[in-house]
């Protein structure tokens, strides 16, 4: 139950730091702190299949994990120089605010209130998600609109909790929500039939379904009831660090657009295409402008591949989740992922 205690403890420790400490003078110097430490500290999910959790050997894997490895690769040329801190939805923001982690890469929705009142900034949307519902097949429910009067298990401290109430209200349905501090507890309660439905971002539903006693007897309903742009976040006030996080994402998207993959990156260095040459540092000084080396993108792509490769390997066709690219396809293929030009 350390999670529950930890949650209160984090809030309390944060209050104490605010009361008696001085704000880290290093608001401008996250990169320097990371370099001096020799390690990036990354806030990750810890339990969500496909996005961030340790595999049976204890190695962290997942889409959000890859993103942190990409940053570490850009800085140290070594994707293993990351320490992952598992966070709940409830304590993730506080961990970032208090400086416990350098970057939060934990399927976190970018919203206006979070962006403007929590002292954090969102770098770039690396996964366009939306909230969905999972139900047991035996209930014979085909649409979320049939869930009037149903009990729904939900995790606390999430946009999910708010969207759920909104959706039921907007459709004149009665909601019986059962709120838990962690996704673990909410999923367990759903699995023991305490609730008729479990709701979270649809990417999470596919991941959590794998943890149920009988995944195949549960279905994800077709409705997507919200917009959930998931984005890595950093503390507000260190623009240079935010740039590094943001461009790590765009380097991966640009690489996919330009056809640069983990395998062919060395050959691509010899390409005549100026876009590729700028991305890979053969032309211009884009990396050193951020305080990194000019081959920063090469390091990223060698470590985790381009955006599409990371997606497919962790949550797409190369994974048990088999999530379609959908909104996360490149803009040229009907999706929303659009590489901001490197020039």
């Amino acid at each position: 139950m350390s999670k529950v205690m930890k949650r209160v403890a984090t809030a309390l420790a944060f209050a104490l730091i605010l009361a008696f400490g001085t704000q880290a003078a290093s608001a401008q110097a996250t990169l320097k702190a990371v370099q001096d430490r020799g390690q990036l500290v990354c806030g990750a999910n810890g339990t969500l299949a496909g996005f961030g959790r340790p595999d049976p050997q204890g190695n962290w894997v997942g889409f959000d994990v890859d993103f942190c490895r990409a940053i570490a690769a850009a800085i140290f040329n070594d994707p293993t120089k990351v320490k992952f801190v598992p966070l709940t939805a409830a304590n993730r923001i506080t961990s970032l605010q208090s400086g416990e982690i350098d970057v939060l890469s934990r399927n976190t929705t970018w919203t206006m209130s979070r962006d403007t009142s929590l002292g954090i900034d969102f770098a770039a949307v690396n996964y366009y998600d939306g909230q969905g519902f999972m139900v047991r097949k035996a209930l014979k429910v085909n649409s979320a609109l049939e869930l009037n009067d149903a009990s729904v298990c939900v995790q606390q401290g999430t946009t999910t909790e708010l969207n759920l109430a909104d959706y039921f209200r907007a459709n004149n349905m009665t909601l019986k929500s059962v709120t838990f501090a962690t996704a673990d507890e909410a999923v367990k309660a759903y699995d023991t039939a305490r609730c008729d439905s479990y709701t979270t971002d649809s990417s999470g539903l596919y991941g959590e379904r794998l943890r149920l006693t009988d995944p195949s007897s549960n279905i994800v309903l077709p409705e997507i009831i919200s917009k959930e742009p998931l984005s890595p976040a950093v503390r507000q006030g260190d623009d240079a660090w935010e740039d590094i996080v943001r461009w790590t994402h765009y380097a991966m998207v640009n690489a996919e657009e330009l056809g640069v993959t983990q395998k062919n990156v060395d050959d691509m260095m010899k390409s005549d295409n100026p876009d590729i040459r700028r991305l890979l540092g053969a032309e211009g000084k884009f990396g050193s402008g951020m305080g990194l080396t000019d081959d920063w993108a090469v390091r990223i792509i060698k470590a985790v591949g381009n955006y599409g490769e990371s997606f497919e390997a962790n949550v797409g066709q190369g994974s048990p989740l088999k999530i379609a690219r959908g909104l996360n396809a490149l803009w040229t293929k009907g999706g929303l992922q659009y590489g901001i030009p490197i020039r």
């Binding site: 139950m1 209050a15 008696f20 009142s117 009067d149 401290g157 109430a165 209200r169 507890e185």
Partner: protein, 397 residues
């Protein structure tokens, strides 16, 4: 007592001018100033740090719309219309509800087991001893998870619900009982009942006084039964039995209508009551053992039956010893109720330092308010128990 107070008044006034006394007061004032200054500096520093980190501060969020749903609300609450402030009150009331009911259960159970432990019956005393040793040596959180995950979730699912006699349902979504619906004229029966209760209390007081004064006993039992039960029942029948029940019924997903008792509430109530009862039993046992054996023997020599000896001689003297540690147990129970977060019961910590904190992100204000609330509840409980302790304490003559 009065004489002593008067006698000590004069020298105290003289000592007020004592230089040493003045020095001590100055020291204490200085200490107070330092502590106060420390708190002030902390508050100012926190505000400055929050501003520097671009984090919103203050209580502006209090009147903003909450937007999230709460599974158990004692006062009207809706996610669309209610504020974070309202959510705070909902959580606080849920905490008070579970804590107060658990205190009653724990006290009854604890006294029963404490007394049973001193029983001369081998089986009874050893069963009670076994209970105490088993319960107080297993962490409360584990017991809570046991009740919630092992006991309540293994109840039948909705469509296999146990049907209770009288039209209730029992399943893994909770206990659903008929909801009483009071008619217009029910208030007549209620008024007569309350009048009967007051009359009985007055009569009891009078009987006690008379017995103290003259030694004559007055059997109040049958009159009380008449006043509290029979007369209101007659009025109830005469006014046309204005009480009906709305029965719960099985819907597609949930039981609809009726009174609903959530499994989260039940699990927390069981765990808190059963756990605290083990400690109260030990407090009670200690209190009873602190009464000298001679008191019991004297009572027996006077011919009092064992029940009356316990009620009239032993327990009143034991209460002096029992009340202070009992207060501690009550305080522990109230604070332990915050373990609700582990099973999703919407208490103050779950709602306020949970959902509200993580939606608003204002950790400092919310944690401070929550700590202040627990402090206030605990101080009130202590005050009440101290007052009770004085009331039941033996008046030495």
């Amino acid at each position: 007592m009065a004489e002593i107070a008067k006698a000590s008044a004069r020298p105290r006034r003289a000592r007020w001018l004592d230089a040493r006394q003045l020095g001590s007061i100055a020291t204490q004032l200085a200490l107070l100033a330092v502590v106060g200054g420390l708190f002030y500096a902390a508050a100012v520093n926190a505000a400055r740090n929050l501003a520097a980190a671009h984090i919103a501060s203050g209580f502006g969020f209090w009147n903003n719309t909450a937007g999230f749903d709460i599974s158990q609300t004692l006062i009207a609450y809706s996610s669309s219309a209610s504020t974070f402030g309202r959510a705070f009150w909902v959580g606080l009331l849920n905490t008070l509800l579970v804590a107060s009911i658990a205190i009653v259960f724990a006290t009854v159970l604890g006294f029963t087991i404490g007394i049973a432990r001193l029983s001369r019956n081998w089986l009874v005393s050893h069963l009670a001893g076994g209970y105490v040793e088993l319960i107080r040596n297993v962490p409360l959180l584990l017991q809570l998870l046991f009740w919630y995950n092992a006991v309540l979730k293994s109840l039948p699912e909705l469509h296999g619900s146990m049907t209770l006699p009288g039209g209730g349902f029992f399943n893994n979504r909770g206990l659903f009982l008929p909801r009483p619906q009071f008619g217009e004229s029910f208030r007549f029966a209620l008024i007569v009942f309350l009048l009967g209760l007051i009359a009985t209390l007055v009569l009891g007081l009078w009987a006690r006084r008379r017995q103290d004064r003259t030694g004559k006993r007055f059997q109040i039992r049958w009159i009380a039964l008449g006043l509290i039960v029979v007369v209101p029942a007659l009025v109830f029948a005469a006014s046309g039995s204005p009480l009906s029940f709305s029965f719960p019924n099985l819907g597609r997903f949930n039981v609809q209508g009726g009174v609903e008792i959530l499994p989260e509430f039940a699990a927390l109530l069981f765990a808190l009551s059963i756990y605290t009862a083990a400690f109260i039993a030990e407090v009670v046992r200690a209190g009873l053992l602190a009464v000298p054996q001679g008191q019991t023997e004297a009572a027996q020599a006077l011919g009092l039956p064992p029940g009356a000896t316990l009620r009239r001689i032993v327990i009143p003297q034991a209460m002096r010893v029992i009340v202070p540690p009992l207060t501690s147990q009550y305080l522990n129970l109230i604070k332990n109720s915050s373990l609700a977060v582990a099973i999703g019961y919407p208490d103050l910590v779950q709602v306020f330092t949970g959902s509200v904190l993580f939606i608003t992100g204002q950790a400092v204000e919310i944690v401070a308010v929550t700590m202040a609330v627990y402090l206030a509840i605990s101080l009130c409980t202590s005050l009440l128990m101290n007052w009770y302790g004085h009331a039941v304490g033996i008046v030495e003559r």
